[in-house]
């Protein structure tokens, strides 16, 4: 994973003595390709998308589109997005942290650790329609697992309840979302886990602390900012996911699907600009999450100095 690699490099760089010379010209030149990329493919589209929300279909400036944020359907979609994102983020974080904890007991350069590390890098990026079909093949009404359970227990897991198959409902999205949330947690949380210094454990043991006391008094408090930071990251990742949901629940229910509906509708026409308002709503959530994330990261970094 690139992100992890660079974390480590950055960590090494900051321990070496840095030249305190001012070579801004060259430094800025080095940043230019990345800055241009971010501006062209992130900043400009984001500004255009949000700005579109403040124009009417005929092109005049309006604030009328903001009324959409009070529409019951839209409100419900935001609620659905929050539900799926929060549950999958917390679930992914807890399971992922347990995996990281278990991996602490393995050799850092051992086969198991490197395998889980690289598998996580791949699985965290496995999403979209492929993931949706993988789940349809597993637990859809013709899925292998569904059929297997049916043949053994006689229970059709897709006929439990009266709402049709769970996979095709908003709460059902939690399953595929956990699929990429857990490995993402392993990727982001493992460096923090590895940052726990052996000396702290030794010091605690010397002073007579039990293992449980070490974890409750030292380990968890030190890891807490990194943990909650990762939870926010998982939340943001799930909140912005689109393609998996689009393939599984085509009748809306989360915000990205509402945006699709507004942008591409051929029955309810002239509402494309409302999508900009929804994008603004999502952006506000994202900005809050990112600010909280960077705050927690600063807290987390305190102990790795």
């Amino acid at each position: 994973m690139v992100a992890i690699g660079s974390t480590r490099v950055a960590g090494e760089a900051r321990t070496s003595s840095l030249p305190r010379r001012r070579r801004f010209g060259v430094a800025w030149l080095g940043l230019t390709p990345f800055a241009a990329y971010v501006i062209l493919f992130l900043a400009v589209p984001a500004v255009i998308a949000v700005a579109s929300g403040f124009f009417s279909a005929t092109g005049s400036i309006t604030f009328a589109n903001l009324a959409a944020l009070g529409d019951p359907t839209i409100v419900k979609a935001f609620q659905g997005s929050f539900l799926v994102s929060i549950v999958s983020a917390l679930g992914g974080a807890v399971v992922g942290a347990l995996i990281c904890f278990a991996m602490l007991g393995t050799r850092p350069d051992g086969f198991l650790r490197t395998t889980i590390d690289s598998a996580s890098s791949v699985l965290a990026q496995f999403g979209g329609v492929m993931l949706a079909f993988a789940f349809i093949a597993l637990i859809g009404s013709q899925g292998i697992l569904s059929k297997w359970i049916l043949s053994i227990t006689g229970v059709n897991i897709n006929e439990i309840g009266t709402n049709g198959p769970l996979l095709y409902q908003v709460p059902g999205l939690i399953m595929p979302y956990l699929y990429f949330s857990i490995p993402l947690m392993v990727l982001t949380f493992m460096p923090a886990m590895e940052g726990l210094k052996a000396q702290w454990g030794e010091a605690a043991a010397t002073l007579g602390a039990t293992r449980l006391q070490f974890w409750t008094k030292i380990g968890m408090p030190v890891l807490a900012p990194a943990f909650w930071g990762s939870v926010l990251l998982l939340f943001a990742n799930a909140f912005s996911s689109y393609a998996t949901a689009a393939a599984l629940i085509d009748q809306g229910g989360i915000t990205p699907l509402s945006i699709k509906q507004q942008l591409t509708s051929e029955t309810v026409v002239g509402v494309a600009n409302v999508a900009g308002v929804l994008a603004l709503g999502m952006l506000v959530v994202m900005v809050i999450v990112m600010v909280a994330y960077s705050f927690l990261q600063r807290r987390a970094a305190r102990w790795t100095r």
Binding site: A3, G127, T162, T188, I249, T267, V269
Partner: protein, 406 residues
């Protein structure tokens, strides 16, 4: 999934960068930002102007972009010559398994080998067509022709060029705009497709779908507040439950009870889900249900059957129109001539769709009689929502659909 990639590296690096760069950043940031923005604008506008110039030089004497009939080119031979000079045609949102478009596109390329068809975004919606025309305006990749739903068309008439195909008279008067801005091409009938290995007795009424045999099995082609085909399934349900073209609420109520009984599936049906048996019942246009069945050959589901329910037949004509800013204006006009030729109208018919010139073809004996016998004569009790009815229906759907099925 769109990974939201704000991973860890920021924490370590920004801190030390901040200490070194803090005061310098403030001064340089705005300048750098401005420079980048200017460069970006220059690059973007540059590429659009250059391609515009290239497309303008394609036709020599005739201004193809304003030609309203083949006569402007001195007849079909002139039109073909001008189109050949352009060498390509951009079509959009034409899935190969939809109304025989695979064969129709292949036939065009065979008939006019010098023109290559670029087929963009086959699974897109009518709104996507308009969005592409606007965002790529002036570029060589912009769509030349549209196959577009009426609601979106009505909002975007200013994007269309006027053109009348040589057999213009064959299109019934209420199937076309008198000045040639748009013209109906074909309609399907809303139908129930079902997997006969799962559903043993064919449904005879829409109310049959509420039965326990259909538990977790009924899907429609998308979100009715977004896709016309899905909305038409709701309109069909309205017709079968005491509603009408101007009162679609019974249709929404029908799907609400379908959902409550656990019969409704929210997943988007595709040829793959139909083949695997994941979506054993799909309400969609007859030509799509037929294409996913035995007629689809090895890609189709051999057990897939199509039923047009008794009672009012619900359809919705799609329209042909030419992009006013078509990068290949002559090829676009040649495409329309080709579409309305009896050979291609028969191809629509063979897919189970009813082409716009069907009545004239029956009169002129150019219709493929065997195909017509197989598909069945155009229904006499055909219902299509008028523009005003569609707008009213859309309002109802916006208000009630999401609550009905979620």
């Amino acid at each position: 999934m769109a990974p939201f990639d704000l991973r860890l590296p920021a924490s370590g690096t920004t801190d030390f960068r901040r200490t070194i760069m803090e005061e310098h950043v403030k001064r340089t940031r705005t300048v750098a930002g401005l420079a980048l923005a200017t460069a970006a604008i220059a690059v973007l506008s540059g590429c659009s102007t250059s391609s515009k110039a290239a497309s303008d030089s394609s036709s020599s004497s005739v201004d193809a972009a304003t030609a309203t009939s083949a006569d402007a080119f001195g007849g079909m031979a002139g039109l073909v010559k001008a189109a050949n000079a352009e060498g390509k045609l951009n079509v959009i949102t034409l899935p190969p398994s939809w109304a025989n478009y695979g064969k129709i596109i292949a036939g065009f390329e065979k008939k006019y080998p010098k023109i290559k068809i670029n087929s963009a975004n086959p699974d897109g919606s009518s709104a996507d067509e308009v969005a592409a025309a606007k965002s790529q305006q002036g570029q060589s990749t912009a769509p030349d022709v549209f196959d577009i739903g009426t609601a979106v068309l009505d909002q975007n008439l200013d994007l269309m060029a006027k053109y009348k195909v040589s057999n213009w008279a064959d299109i019934p008067a209420d199937y076309k705009d008198a000045s040639g801005t748009w013209y109906y091409d074909y309609t399907g009938l809303m139908s129930v497709g079902y997997d006969s290995s799962v559903i043993k007795t064919a449904p005879t009424s829409i109310k049959d779908l509420l039965g326990s045999a259909y538990k977790g099995k009924v899907a429609i082609k998308g979100d009715p507040t977004q896709a016309n085909e899905a909305a038409s399934a709701v309109y069909l349900a309205a017709l079968g439950n005491g509603g009408s073209a101007s009162n679609i609420q019974p249709g929404i109520d029908f799907f609400s009870s379908l959902k409550q009984k656990g019969n409704f599936l929210s997943v988007l049906p595709t040829q793959a889900t139909v083949n695997s048996g994941e979506t054993p019942v799909v309400l969609q246009w007859s030509y799509n249900n037929l294409a996913w069945g035995p007629a689809g050959g090895s890609a189709g589901n051999p057990n897939w059957k199509t039923v047009v329910l008794k009672g009012s037949a619900l359809g919705s004509y799609y329209n042909q129109a030419i992009n006013k800013d078509a990068p290949d204006p002559a090829a676009a006009r040649l495409w329309e001539e080709y579409i309305y030729s009896p050979a291609v109208q028969n191809l629509y018919l063979a897919s189970g769709a009813y082409p716009a010139t069907l009545a004239a073809m029956e009169k002129n004996k150019t219709v493929d009689a065997a195909t017509l016998a197989k598909v069945g004569k155009a229904p006499s009790n055909f219902v299509q929502l008028t523009s005003d009815q569609a707008t009213a229906a859309a309002t109802k759907l916006t208000a009630g659909w999401s609550a009905a099925v979620n």
